[in-house]
């Protein structure tokens, strides 16, 4: 029962994240969506390792989840830095354009 509950929750989280990753335009929210997605998958995965009846624990999925968490942090960080840099580049472009416009105005 518990495993099914958590499995279904995990899948729903995956779908939520998927939806957000695709439909939301803001990059930060896309990245958030990706994180929710991966959290859902991990929940789903560990729900496989847990057996309420015997109390036995499968260590392989847990190790997989640990790997997955680290990878997802890594991707999140890269994506965040990329979007920050993007914003910076866009700002620089805008500043340059404004400066040019001002110079043109002054020239006239």
């Amino acid at each position: 029962m518990t495993t099914i509950l958590y499995s279904v929750t995990g899948l729903l989280l995956f779908v939520f994240g998927l939806f957000a990753l695709i439909v939301c335009p803001h990059p930060l929210r896309k990245i958030l969506g990706g994180n929710v997605m991966s959290a859902g998958i991990f929940l789903f995965l560990v729900a496989a390792s847990y057996r309420a009846d015997t109390g036995e624990i499968d260590a392989v999925p847990q190790a997989m989840v640990l790997t997955g968490i680290v990878v997802s942090v890594c991707i999140t960080a890269v994506a965040l830095v990329l979007s920050t840099r993007l914003q910076q580049a866009a700002d620089q472009g805008a500043r340059r354009r404004r400066k040019r416009r001002r110079e043109e105005d002054a020239g006239e």
Binding site: L18, I22, V23, P25
Partner: protein, 590 residues
């Protein structure tokens, strides 16, 4: 055992070198540091082929596992003959080219294309499986483009363009034919060259594929342009050696004697006869030697097409058509090589005495026309025999048509000699010792080869009978008279007086009308070809579609995340459902 292995190795190495040496030298022309050597070795490139003809026993067949899907190469009787005559033609052309381009700054470029075409030509003769054949054929065809455009003039570029379009067409036809043949399972991949009955579509495809090379009727337009625009050694190679590739193609793909295709036979006969006549009429109106020689090639290759057509009519005819086509190719190659060498001599300012020039040129011309004692007469005789085998109607056709074509050829060749003599008198002078000797040698070849070579000598006896002599003599005589009349009337040679007006008009009217009709047909075919080959990319509709905003907008829409997501979801759900249904069905059946 050891000897066996050694012999195998020698055979493989020897055969590989036939195509390999020219190709290696071609690669050498490309590398800056090797250029000089490659050019110096140019005349030697054809030697391995000649050696192979002399030393390798016919019937040899070798698997070359490492090459292009595991190729097979080998020499059978006809391949040996073709290899021999092509090698001679290439050797002459190479010697002439080495002489002509000695101081040309772009000589390595010419030599590179020349050698690549040579390698392709030898390779396709040796190839015993369809993929290799296709590969070498394509190599030769595309490299020849470089020969044609070598002069880099606008006219050369145009000739090259026409050539390239036609070559593409032929490659496409060949590829389609090969795929169809292979897909029918008759030819395993990298298997032997096929032999089975062919559908009309395949016949037409194969006719197209090799018809371009021999200048068969709707595809003849490149020949006159290219022969005139290519440097003369290049044209020598085109006319003397590369034309034969088309004949080889037909020989390989229509196993004469094993296959009877009455419809295809008639088609070939009609196309061949039309080409033979068209060549003559077209040539008479040309005033450049290269173009006239090209028309003569069209006409002569029309005869080969005719022979092929007869060969497809019945099995017996096929058996005798096979050697005949080979011999015809030899005969034509020898004569054309000699003519082109003469042209080259004149072109470069060689000025032999008028009588010597005329006599020297007359030998191959009369051989082509079929004068008794020449190879032409021997072949015409054999052709008449062949026409017997095709049945009565076709015999009559042959009996009427052959003298006619002899008459035409005579007129055309005399016209050509006239042009060359005129040019010899007018052009600049140059040093031409080597080329002159080559020319003499080639004439000797035209005269002597029929008598020294066993298969042709066998036919000679027949052609020496009195009746045959008369039969083959009168068309030549008639042709000579007509040519004299024509030359006088047309005033092609200066200083012979103006012809009478009405006779001139009449002749012109007839010829022009006839020619006009022919051009109408060929123009239509040209246009059709353009429509098929070029139009899809030319057509405004397609262009407009490409340029229009439709694709751009659609592509932009495909780039939006939600749309991509839509496809993502659709695909996953559909895949899921498909697999689920399949599993469900399987479990139900099980």
């Amino acid at each position: 055992m050891f000897l066996q292995t050694l012999q195998n190795f020698m055979n493989e190495a020897g055969l590989s070198l036939v195509a390999g040496v020219p190709l290696l030298l071609a690669a050498g022309c490309w590398a800056r540091c090797l250029r000089k050597w490659s050019f110096r070795l140019l005349p030697l490139a054809a030697l391995p082929a000649l050696l192979a003809v002399l030393l390798v026993s016919p019937g040899l067949e070798i698997q070359v596992k490492w090459f292009f899907m595991g190729g097979t190469m080998g020499i059978d009787a006809s391949a040996r003959i073709f290899l021999g005559v092509s090698a001679c033609a290439w050797l002459f052309a190479a010697l002439a080219a080495g002489e002509k381009f000695r101081d040309d700054p772009h000589r390595h470029r010419f030599a590179g294309y020349f050698l690549a075409s040579m390698g392709g030509n030898f390779g396709l003769i040796l190839a015993r499986d369809i993929l290799d054949f296709y590969l070498f054929f394509a190599l030769m065809s595309f490299s020849a483009y470089g020969l044609i455009i070598h002069n880099r003039t606008a006219a050369a570029a145009k000739a090259g363009r026409v050539y390239l379009v036609l070559v593409f067409l032929s490659e496409l036809a060949m590829f389609t034919a090969l795929v169809l043949l292979s897909a029918r399972g008759e030819v395993p991949l990298a298997g032997a060259i096929p032999g089975a009955d062919l559908s009309p579509l395949l016949i037409i495809l194969l006719f197209m594929a090799f018809g371009v090379k021999v200048g068969a009727l709707p595809f003849q337009s490149w020949m006159a342009l290219s022969y005139q625009q290519a440097p003369v050694p290049g044209a020598t190679a085109l006319a003397g050696a590369m034309v034969n590739a088309g004949i080889i193609g037909w020989l390989r793909f229509f196993p004469f004697g094993h296959v009877v295709l009455p419809g295809g036979g008639v088609f070939f006969i009609v196309m061949g006869a039309a080409a033979a006549l068209y060549g003559v009429f077209f040539g008479l109106y040309q005033d450049k030697p290269g173009r006239v020689l090209a028309s003569s090639s069209i006409s002569q290759m029309g005869l080969v097409t005719l022979i092929a057509g007869y060969g497809l009519l019945s099995e017996d005819a096929g058996m005798s058509a096979l050697p005949l086509m080979t011999l015809f190719a030899v005969h034509h190659s020898l004569a054309k090589t000699s003519l082109f060498l003469g042209y080259d001599l004149v072109d470069r300012g060689g000025r032999p005495a008028d009588a010597i020039l005329a006599a020297g040129l007359l030998v191959p011309c009369l051989s082509l026309a079929g004068l008794p004692l020449t190879s032409g007469a021997m072949i015409k005789g054999a052709l008449k025999e062949l026409a017997h085998l095709g049945g009565d109607a076709w015999y009559v056709f042959g009996a009427v048509f052959l003298p006619l074509s002899s008459v035409g050829t005579t007129i055309l060749m005399l016209h050509c000699i006239g042009l060359l003599r005129k040019r010899s008198r007018a052009g600049p002078r140059g040093k031409t010792t080597v080329i002159a000797w080559l020319w003499v040698l080639s004439i000797a070849g035209v005269v002597l080869v029929p008598w020294m070579w066993q298969p042709l000598r066998e036919m000679a006896g027949y052609s020496l009978r009195a009746r045959t002599v008369v039969q083959s003599l009168w068309p030549v005589g008639l042709g000579a008279v007509l040519a004299w009349l024509w030359l006088n009337a047309g005033g092609r040679l200066p200083g012979r007086g103006r012809p009478s007006a009405d006779f001139d008009d009449l002749v012109r009217w007839v010829h022009v009308r006839f020619l006009y009709m022919l051009t109408l047909v060929t123009d239509f075919l040209d246009r059709l070809r353009d429509k098929i080959v070029r139009e899809p990319f030319r057509q405004r509709g397609f262009r407009r579609f490409i340029r229009s905003r439709g694709p751009a907008r659609l592509e932009r829409m495909l780039g939006r995340w939600p749309v991509v997501f839509l496809f993502y979801l659709l695909l996953s759900v559909v895949l899921f459902m498909m697999m689920l249904t399949a599993a469900y069905q399987k479990s139900e059946v099980g």
